[in-house]
Amino acid sequence: MLSFMANRFARAAVTMFLVLVIAFLTLRLSGTPFEFMYPEGLTPELEARLAEKYGLDRPLPEQFVAYLGQVAQGEFGRSLHSREPVVEMYLRGMPHTLTIGGLALVLAIAIGIPLGAAAALWRTSPGARIGMGIAFLGYAVPHFVIGIGLILLFGYHWRVLPTTGLDTWKHYILPIVCLALPMIAGLARFMRAAMMDAISHAHVLTAVSTGAPPARVVRLHILRNAALPLITVLGLEIAGLLNGSIFVEAVFSLPGVGRVLVGSVENRDFPVLQFGVIAYAAIVVAVNLAIDLLYVAADPRVRLEE
């Protein structure tokens, strides 16, 4: 087990390192920030002196180390557009993104997992078929298309829910549903497959042969065993959550982190972009690592590898 964990930690470290390299290169390759500071124009001598002052004439690896130092201290510079500190821009949008993402995750787990489990146990009932049919749809269609659909249905056709911004609690409903729908579908599909696989294992037969009632068999022998790969899938879904929230915030014009990130790409605002990249990547890597470790702790076959 230890070697497994060490391996995972190493992978996470390497990935984060690569991300930092990419962020750094993005920043440097995008040109110097001096044109912005001196909109009236730079003379070559002025540029050279500024470059020397800010250390931009040193070799790249040295600059990279300096960059790492800055990152470690939380120094991410200022937006090229608004001159605001980058970190502040993101911190403003963070609570909204986290709220919507968190609630969507809870909703997806609360609905998706039972739905998939029920579909596996009552495989032939019409309800299960319908449920999985909806899941089928929700799984493949991208977030922004779902968002458009939701807006048209609830904002236009029935006019019951607001579709832009986050002023009241009602404004939260559509974005959360939009974000959660593909996750519900994915979790349901997965849970159904995992349970059907667990059911086919011989130990279920053994359990039935001891005279245990079906509910007990399901609880102790099927659900338990299907829970393991579920952990891994949850990790993947959480990573997908970050992706999805970028699109959901665009569709519903929400003042979250995603909007800052996309805006930075449109405006070529590299200091803002590099922080977004690093932060998102760090979250994804951390979640993946946590999931890996959780899985190892939960599966006795891996944990007790002699």
């Binding site: 990935t15 390759l29 048209l152 086919s200 990573a239 996309v262 449109e266 972009l273 994804v284």
Partner: protein
């Protein structure tokens, strides 16, 4: 040796079929529908009733023909500056599929090349390249693409390259597996001693075996790539006007949803249809492959 619950004669149920064999089921219908859509896109320059970029402020924001106020002049209506929606949709399909296809070609070439290099090269090269693959998988795709686009702009070639760069690992793994198994047969060594170059070995022995699994992987990967471009264009960082893709149209029409739902709605419906077709085809392919594996 007794089986779990079913007696052995069950094995005689059906003879093994090739996964790509023709059969009238859901997947085939979906494939036909998809082919029809692609054809419409390819034929866009021939069948589009209007120039997709022609601005006509007099007839702007016209609803589709089945709504009140619609006209057969513009069966799908017009957008907020009077451009014909039907023509834009046709060209949009063309653009979306075009970029997705190019991106896939790029990523498969890249993946195959790296896979061959990993397989034929020494153990060190293999280890190195596979580590690269593993790390690449964990990097978040969207972020990589955003960085690339920010640096290089939103030209078509950038999109193609970016899409290609985030999707090549699958092919690399497949090819590497093929090469390695071929190596185990000693064939590669023999060919080498006879003087055949790596290139020769690759083209005449490895690639032909890849055709079938490659087609399957490409089919399964296509919708993801298509939706990637659509998503980027929707956000505004994908294709830029005057070029238009389905995703871009949805993004542009977002603000007019309440008044003119068709500007975003119709391209969205087209995307849903395309996605559904791919999903059915993908599931059908996977089912057939599983049947094969069981035998």
């Amino acid at each position: 040796m007794t089986d779990a619950a079913a007696p052995p004669p069950e094995r005689r149920a059906a003879p093994p079929r090739a996964p790509l064999a023709f059969q009238w089921d859901k997947a085939t219908f979906a494939a036909l529908a998809l082919a029809a859509i692609v054809l419409l896109g390819v034929a866009a320059p021939l069948i589009a009733p209007h120039d997709p970029d022609a601005v006509d402020l007099v007839s702007r924001s016209l609803p589709p023909v089945w709504n009140a106020g619609g006209t057969w002049q513009h069966p799908f209506g017009t957008d907020n500056i009077g451009r014909d929606m039907l023509s834009r949709c046709l060209y949009g399909i063309r653009t979306s599929f075009g970029i997705a296809a190019l991106g896939l070609v790029f990523s498969s070439c890249l993946g195959i090349a790296i896979g061959i290099a990993a397989g034929l090269g020494g153990r060190l090269a293999d280890r190195l390249l596979m580590t690269v693959v593993d790390v690449f998988i964990t990097l978040p795709n969207l972020l990589l693409m955003l960085c690339g686009i920010a640096l290089l702009g939103s030209e078509i070639w950038v999109l193609v390259v970016m899409i290609g760069l985030v999707k090549w690992e699958g092919y690399a793994r497949l090819v590497r597996g093929q090469v390695l198994s071929l190596r185990e047969t000693g064939y590669v060594e023999a060919a080498r001693t006879l003087g055949a170059s790596g290139w020769r070995i690759a083209t005449s022995h490895i690639l032909p075996n890849l055709a079938s699994p490659l087609v399957v992987i490409l089919t399964l990967a296509f919708p993801g790539v298509l939706l990637m471009e659509a998503g980027l264009s929707f956000l505004g960082v994908g294709v830029q006007p005057p070029t238009s893709s389905l995703g871009r149209m949805i993004g542009d029409g977002r603000d007019y949803l309440i008044h003119s739902w068709w500007i975003s709605g119709i391209p969205a419906l087209i995307i849903v249809a395309i996605t559904l077709c791919f999903q059915i085809i993908g599931d059908g392919l996977r089912d057939r492959l599983d049947v094969q594996l069981d035998d």
